[in-house]
Symmetry: C2
Subunit: 500 residues, 2 copies
């Protein structure tokens, strides 16, 4: 058999296993009976071991070795080999006892974290956090002994990203956001801003679902190849690009949350549904990175879904559905959906301006934990100090502070920056789409989102992992990652909203 064909078959099996694991996870969250948790654990473990075995199979390595220098391959095929090689190398290099220990300690870490957070007691979590840091350093040292450990870890989520580049984009962002938030705080203490009481007007879940589903359809979500369900934490999952499943949750006293979550998850879903189906069972068709994935959800949620342009053609219909909005002027509505809450400690509840600082704080702390510059015991104090410095507030306890997120308990060091990279890419992409496509903004203003989706399909979704992130973003926007698109957008938007 032709070597590339043999490789494609093996990778097809691996992608199918990944899809099945995605389905098992969706099932567990949405429909699985509670008593099946133990057997589900065994099923997931079996498939994960099979997946790991297949990724590091010697024959796969052999094929990848041969094909790496095969000049008859085209660009897409070369990219496919490159992406497969990345995963093969990781799988093949990591010794199985480290992988097993990692699995055990992250499961234990999660349990201990749940208890520690409940008890608001960081000292309970500290020892397992230390273990996970040590294991992460070991992992990084095996994968790339000549690189800083944190750079190796971030590669799992944002291939090619480094601390040096993160610092270069996060510093100007901090320099922009910290003083802007001080201005916001001052402005909010003065009279003359709109009343946001309408945000807590009660709306039954069934009505929220109806209104949200209409919007999800308008955005282009294909219900023939996806579903919308309810879960405790909204997510986008499923079993590959033909089976994309999004979820939301309904808080009857905060109708805007379900809507925001649906728009956000639909952003992720459009990326998945927009993958090149002809290559759907090959790594090259997969989403480029966590950061690029987040750019798609945030582009729709923030750049589009919280803009006046998006809502103006829809507001009358929304007022028909939610009659209490008939008393709310359009500008007040837009102000409300973009409300900046300066007294919030929790990342997942943060608004567009404070969110990046929550992320940068975590990035700086985890970077220093991995390098050893910050001792685990000193984490709570360092957290609180940065919160005060960046956001002007100090958490009353560690549950609202350094114990709030699940990530570290799962050993996910290097994941946090992707959230804000997503926000930055989103601003770059939306500005470019508008600037380069005559009529696109007019279409959005007229309620037609299809030209925007088409642009994203062509410039991001269909390309999958064909290009490295820098090349993808440069091809799409004319320049690599650059925080100034976000800074310009956010400055303009919030100065106007807050009448600064």
């Amino acid at each position: 058999m032709n070597g590339y064909r043999e490789l494609s078959q093996q990778l097809g099996d691996l992608m199918a296993l990944e899809e099945v694991l995605g389905l098992l996870q969706w099932d567990q969250e949405i429909v699985m009976p509670a008593g099946a948790i133990e057997s589900r654990g065994r099923q997931v473990a079996t498939l994960s071991v099979l997946q790991q075995e297949r990724w590091c199979a010697p024959r796969l390595g052999e094929l990848l070795g041969l094909l790496q220098s095969d000049e008859t391959l085209d660009d897409v095929e070369n990219a496919n080999v490159r992406e497969a090689l990345r995963e093969h190398n990781k799988a093949a290099k990591l010794p199985s006892d480290l992988v097993r220990r990692w699995g055990e300690r992250t499961v234990a870490g999660h349990e201990i974290w749940v208890q520690a957070r409940k008890a608001k007691d960081f000292s309970q979590f500290a020892p397992v956090l230390q273990e996970l840091i040590d294991l992460s350093r070991q992992k990084a040292a095996i994968l790339a002994p000549d690189q800083p450990a944190y750079d190796v870890l971030i590669d799992d989520f944002e291939p090619g990203m480094t601390m040096a580049r993160l610092d270069k984009v996060f510093e100007p962002l901090k320099a922009f956001l910290i003083p802007l938030l001080a201005q916001v705080r001052q402005r909010q203490s003065q009279p003359g801003l709109p009343d946001i009481g309408f945000l807590t007007h009660p709306v039954p879940a069934t009505q929220q679902r109806e209104v949200g589903e209409k919007l999800v359809r308008t955005m282009g979500f294909d219900f023939e190849r996806g579903r919308l369900d309810t879960s405790v934490h909204p997510f986008c999952g499923g079993a590959g690009p033909s089976d994309v499943r999004i979820t939301t949750r309904y808080n009857e006293n905060a109708w805007c949350q379900s809507l925001t979550a649906m728009i956000h998850e639909t952003g992720h879903a459009l990326y998945e549904q927009g993958r090149n189906l002809a290559l759907a069972n090959q790594p090259v068709s997969r989403a480029r990175s966590m950061g690029v994935h987040e750019s798609q959800s945030l582009l729709w949620e923030k750049q589009v879904g919280q803009s006046a342009d998006f809502w103006r053609p829809r507001y009358a219909a929304l007022q028909q559905d939610y009659t209490f909005l008939q008393q709310v002027p359009f500008d007040d509505f837009v102000y409300g959906v973009n409300y900046v809450d300066l007294n919030n400690f929790i990342r997942v509840e943060a608004d567009e301006l404070t969110y990046p600082l929550h992320v940068i704080l975590r990035y700086e702390l985890e970077r220093d934990l991995i390098s050893g510059a910050l001792a685990v015991a000193d984490l709570p104090a360092a957290w609180n100090q940065k919160m005060q410095h960046y956001l002007g507030i100090t958490p009353p306890d560690d549950a609202l502070g350094c114990l709030q997120d699940v990530h570290w308990s799962a050993g996910l060091f290097g994941y946090f920056p992707c959230y804000t990279l997503g926000a930055l890419y989103a601003a770059q992409l939306f500005q470019t789409a508008v600037a380069r496509t005559p009529g696109l903004l007019g279409d959005v203003q007229a309620g037609n989102l299809q030209p925007l989706l088409a642009w994203l399909r062509a410039n991001i979704h269909q390309l999958g992992s064909q290009y490295l992130t820098d090349e993808l973003i440069t091809r799409a926007t004319g320049r690599p990652l650059d925080p100034h698109a976000f800074i310009a957008y956010a400055g303009r938007k919030y100065r106007s909203l807050l009448r600064l």
Copy 2:
């Protein structure tokens, strides 16, 4: 590592794969978006190939060979080895090109059958049926060249069963049913039987679901380890004994159908939920056979769920839910739920008396197709002739005749007999449970089903595949398969119902 422990681990992986395949199938029927059908096909194919590879892995064969003569194993362990060996041998003996060809032709066969049935044209289906018969003969010749092909095929569904034994139980059954049905026909042409109009009184699906769910709970279905959903064809599936998922369908003009289906599928589900959880990931805990599985669904559906004893303590409550039954005397109700429809051509809609003849007819035809005694071209005529002989009716076309069932299009030769074996086992088991357990029938009559479930748990469910079918049935009932329990029961019941 200890050989038996190594075996258990490998078998645990295989059982987990089987469970995941079960989940994929459930998902496909119940929640999967339509557009995912192609990618789902790839996922199932990948897992099936992995499963096949693992079943015929040389190391598994080696372990099984060693353990087969290991005298330190206990009875359960020996049975586990025996069950695993059966599957390993089949997987290892069948050449992969035959397996692939089988997969291709059964998929094609299904498509062609759908078309042929639609067109009521057997000639469209005949060529692929011939192919599937040829492939089945090849398969049987490879697996056991010294045995009749049909005996080898039936082993997939009812291990240990043979044509010789089937003939021995089916002949007395025919000799009992054919004249009894003639009596029924005559009786039904006379006045004095109850009106069954209440069976078609409209009931909304939501109410049917409520009423059915109460009954399912009463029977002992554990919703912590299972679900009840809606599907086109009712089934019991899921992902192992901790995740048992049953379905039903709701016909608003035939409320009894959903109830019957729920009781039937709950019978299957109780078997699965009653497996020995300590061995849940080993072959020895699996249901003994298709026939024994069907015995559990039919015991609950027919022996129990269509008996006056079962309904008497429940009838007042049912009349509260379905007020139109307040006009229906209890005896008329029982007559109605057991109504014998002598003008029905369709097996899946058949009642307790005609059903076995539908099955015996198919058994005799497929047996003769496999042996060559019946040519494919002669199947429609042979079918119609037997229908006339056994049931006194002749189908107007092949869609209502030999094209009605999906089984042959999927190459499932040897499956049909299990339905009636189930009915026979069910009668034996219920009679023994009642005879050997003082108070059990009184409890059923008082509305308490737990002692019956406990008996089934101890005598069937918990034992899984530890004993071969004959030993299982003999241990439970004091004698091996014997049609006379069913004959006695059915004769008594229907003579009384029909006032013969």
